[in-house]
Structures are given as C-alpha cells and as structure tokens.
C-alpha cells in the first residue's frame, strides 16, 4: 500500500536563523511514511522541531531540502496546495486563535465556504459534524462562550466538515484543562475508528501512548519510530531527549531494582497493575 504521507530527507530552517550552522535546522533529514488509517504520535520536547514537522504536513511550511508528498502530491508545487489542504486538515494548539467565524455555525462553515460547497449541502454537513463532536444545538453560540475543550472540538468539527483523509493535531491538547484534554483525546480516537488518519503532535508520553505508533523527534531528527507497544519494551534513556520517563516505566524499573520479577514487556499502567496482582496471588 502506498503511504498517504511520504517524507523523504526533508529539512527545514527558519529564515531568521539562516546560518550554515547545521544545529539551526529545525528539522533535518527526516524520513517518515504514514499509512492510511494510522494513529500516529509525534513526540518530542519543546523546540525539538515537531511543530515545524507538523506544519510541513499540509504545506504551511515547505521543505528547504528533501520532499514532502501527500498522496503523491509534492507540497512544493503551488497548484497542489489547495488539494493538499483538503486531504490534510489541521487542529492547532491555541483554541482561540483558530476560530474565524463569529458563531459556531459560521466557523464550521468557514472551510466549506473556501471549498465552494453549495449552501444547502453546507447546512447539512455543519449539522452532521456538530453532532459528531457533541456540539449539537450550539450552532448559534458565540465562540467566546465555549470552554477550551468545546473550542477545540469546534476546531475539529471545522476540519472534519471538509472531509479530510488525515488530521494533524499540533499540540491541540496542551492548552486545555484535564477535562478538555480527555474530550479531545476521545475525539481523536473516534476519528481514528472512523477511518481517518490521525497524527498527534505532543510532548506528553501519556498522550502518545494512545497512538498505535510513536515517532520521537529530538533536535530536528527522528530518533525512534516504532509501534507504541514496542517502544516501552526496551529500556530507554528518556532524559536524553528531555522527555519525562513514563510513570509506569519508572515504577517498573524501581520494582525490578528491588528484585521483583516484573516482566520487561509491560507497556502500560494497567498491565503493570495486573502483573503485580498476578505476582501477589502467586506468593
């Protein structure tokens, strides 16, 4: 199967940092393929280049070297831009700064208006997606009356109304309270189940664990790219990428140090709890 997103040797550096010094490349020599229907997390600390990478996925930033292709369309070709933005939707970090419309309905319709969808069809789709994200009956509400989680769900509604194949969440949960975060994470899961390719950019390992596959980016390079289950099997030095060690990994390591025969393959908190119960009932 041909991947829906194919990144080949891609690099990007911001204009203001145009020195030959390689350390200033925000993204460097990235190779990444994303398959249709995948749930992928791109994880990295602040300044790792993960947001730059995200913005290269729908041609908001164009690679300075290498190529980014979306369904075979090169992002550097201007005539592809409109099509690419229909294929790859994007939800940003700040809930307030991505809502254009004066009311909920207007905002969901914004992307559709850009696509030139006829008004009758638009009304239908707006209703449909508002149902889908759980904002039914709020068509006429003003954006500033919504909670953070609702605003992000509104942003998601605006994106899915355009029926994209891929949705990139660029740290879309980092400015939310725990309730809002759970709402958005659930929306991601639902989208993935409905067949949309979900790419979640995050610095939180806990959130990355929801994904099927995790890509770790540090200093603009891809450091790891593997199924999330595998990633936590082998011992990793998370601190080398300025990432926090996941709680269950930390706990597992300390238990091992104490001489408890916990299995190395544990990939989540629940499994660890289960393992502890198992060990306890054996003694």
């Amino acid at each position: 199967m041909e991947p829906i997103i194919q990144i080949t040797d891609a690099g990007y550096r911001y204009d203001s940092l145009q020195e030959v010094d390689h350390s200033h490349w925000a993204v460097r020599e990235v190779n990444l393929a994303v398959n249709k229907g995948e749930y992928l997390a791109i994880m990295g600390p602040n300044g790792s280049g993960k947001s730059t990478l995200a913005k290269m996925l729908n041609a908001l930033l164009l690679p300075v070297e290498g190529r980014v292709e979306i369904q075979g369309l090169d992002t550097r070709q201007e005539e592809n831009l409109f099509l690419i933005r229909r294929i790859v939707g994007m939800v940003f970090q700040n809930p307030d700064n991505q809502i254009v419309g004066t009311t909920v309905k207007d905002d969901v319709a914004f992307g559709l208006e850009n696509l030139g969808v006829p008004p009758e069809e638009m009304v239908k789709r707006v209703e449909e997606v508002l149902n889908q994200v759980g904002l039914k009956g709020m068509e006429k509400s003003f954006p500033h009356h919504l909670s953070g989680g609702q605003k992000q769900r509104l942003a998601i509604a605006g994106v899915i109304a355009m029926r994209p194949d891929v949705i990139v969440f660029d740290e879309a949960t980092s400015m939310l309270d725990p309730i809002g975060r759970d709402e958005v994470l659930k929306a991601m899961k639902d989208l993935h189940q409905s067949g949309i390719t979900v790419i979640h950019i995050t610095h939180s390992i806990r959130e990355a664990l929801h994904a099927e596959r995790v890509v770790i980016v540090a200093n603009g390079r891809v450091e790891r790219d593997q199924p999330s289950k595998e990633l936590f099997r082998q011992p990793e030095d998370w601190a080398q990428w300025s990432l926090e060690t996941p709680l269950f990994v930390e706990l597992k390591n300390r238990l091992l140090k104490r001489g408890l025969p916990v299995r190395q393959e544990i990939t989540g908190m629940e499994e660890l709890v289960e393992e502890l119960w198992r060990l306890m009932s054996r003694t």
Partner: protein, 269 residues
C-alpha cells in the same frame, strides 16, 4: 467592560419584530436613502411626516422607548448645542426677544426647531438600524450590497472578512485585557488614581502586552485560515444566505411613497 453590560447607543438587541426580520440589505438601502431625503423637509407637514415615520419605526422595532431614550442621552447635548447656536445666529423675521447683545429672531426659533428635529430623526433612524440588526448581519448585508464594486478592484470581500474577524475577536481581546489588568494589579499597578495623564500612562503596561499578543493571534489565525483552504473571496460560497421577503418589498414601496409625499408636502423654495 461597561460596554458589555450597559446598553450603548445603537447596540444590537435581539428580538423578533418585523424590523428584526427584515433583510439587512433593504434596511441599509432604506436608511441610506432616508438620510438623504430628510433634507427635503422644510415645513411642519414634511417634518411631521418624517417624525411620524420614525415613531412608527420605533413602535415596530418592539424595543422599549426607555432603552432608546437612555441611549440618546449623549446625543441630546449635541442637539441642544446646535439649537442654541441657531437661535443665536440666525437672523430674519420679527424680533422676538432682545436682551443685551442677544437678539432672537422668529426665523431663528423656527430653524432651531427644524434642525433639532432633523438631527433627532437621523439619529433615531440610524439607531433603529443597529438596534435591530446584528453586526454580523450588517457586515453581511454591506458585503452583498457592495459586491458589484469588486469588479472595480475594490476588495469588498476582504473588508467584510476583516470586519467579521474583528467582531469575532472583540470579546476575546476584552477578556485578555481584563486578565492583563488583573496581572498588573497583582504587581501593584493602579488604574484608578491620579490625573487624566497619569491614568492614561498607567494603561501602557496593559496595552503593550495586549498589542503583542494580538499580533501573535493574527499570525496564528492567518495560518489556521490557510490550513483550512482560505485563498481569498474567489470561488467562495457562503452559508449565510440572504433573501428578500414580502416585508422587504413593502419597506421599499413605503420608501418610494415617502419620497413622493415629501416632494409634494415641502414648501417650494
């Protein structure tokens, strides 16, 4: 914050009156022409007709008179000032009063009354428009009325989008300003004491962060708009559809009758 809690002159009041239900385009056209034909009136009959229309409009808007009068208060000073100036400066007709250097002529009294009436009618009608039409509808109506101008390279769509984005962000920026003011107060800033200049100065530490964050917002919003496929007004459809109804046709007929009636009633000059 006061503007969000107290009624200001012409701030939209939601409702379901005939005036609310009219198409913003026909309201705009009506007001535009009305403001011009007000100047046709020059005697009791013609002013009476205009005043009658205005009172009828207020009645139809379903908005209580007290709200409208409260909103008019600041304008009343302006009206009284113009009236006094006319009383004092207009010459002609019999002298009604002579008191020191001030002479008041008959013509002056008449002019003062007419000018105040004209002013009042203009302001009231304008207020009625904004009281019964939400800013969003107003922007929308304006965009559509002016859209023929885009053929002459006038960026009508862009201006309308700028308007609606401003409307969208006013509450957001209010909230932010409130937050910054609280933050500065927590650091010992005082916005209430001192003279006018001092108080104005105390707002600088509020405005600078507000400006900086507005620029950042603008940048992020532009990016988000681009990501959602925005590429200007071309080939764009709209979810808000406007439709002329019977009420709108009626309004325009009334307008036509009004013009004819005014031309007939006014005294020839």
């Amino acid at each position: 914050m006061s503007s969000l809690t107290h009624p200001v002159l012409g701030q939209y009041i939601p409702g379901d009156s005939p005036l609310h239900r009219m198409d913003p385009r026909s309201k705009l056209v009506f007001i535009f022409i009305f403001m011009m034909i007000v100047f046709l009136a020059n005697n009791a009959a013609s002013y009476g007709l205009l005043l009658g229309m205005t009172v009828l409009g207020v009645q139809l808007s379903g908005i209580s008179l007290s709200i409208i009068i409260r909103g008019l208060k600041p304008i009343l000073y302006l009206i009284s000032l113009t009236a006094v100036l006319h009383l004092w400066l207009t010459r002609g007709g019999n002298v009604l009063l002579q008191w020191g250097p001030i002479t008041i002529y008959e013509e002056g009294v008449i002019q003062a009354i007419w000018i105040s009436l004209r002013f009042l009618i203009l302001v009231l009608m304008g207020t009625l428009l904004t009281l019964t039409t939400s800013p969003i509808d107003l922007t929308d109506g304006l965009e559509r009325l002016l859209s023929p101008l885009s053929r002459f390279q006038v960026p009508v769509h862009e201006y309308a989008l700028m308007m609606s984005i401003s409307l969208r962000f006013i509450p957001t920026l209010w909230e932010e300003m409130d937050k910054i003011m609280k933050a500065q107060r927590a650091r010992g800033a005082d916005f209430t004491r001192g003279g006018l200049l001092k108080r104005a100065q105390s707002y600088i530490p509020v405005l600078i962060p507000l400006f900086i964050s507005s620029f950042r917002r603008a940048e992020e919003l532009a990016l988000a708009m681009e990501a959602r496929g925005y590429r200007g007004g071309e080939g764009r459809t709209r979810i808000r559809t406007l439709q002329y109804r019977k009420l709108d046709v009626f309004l325009l007929i009334v307008l036509g009758c009004l013009v004819v009636a005014l031309l007939w009633l006014r005294s020839p000059s």
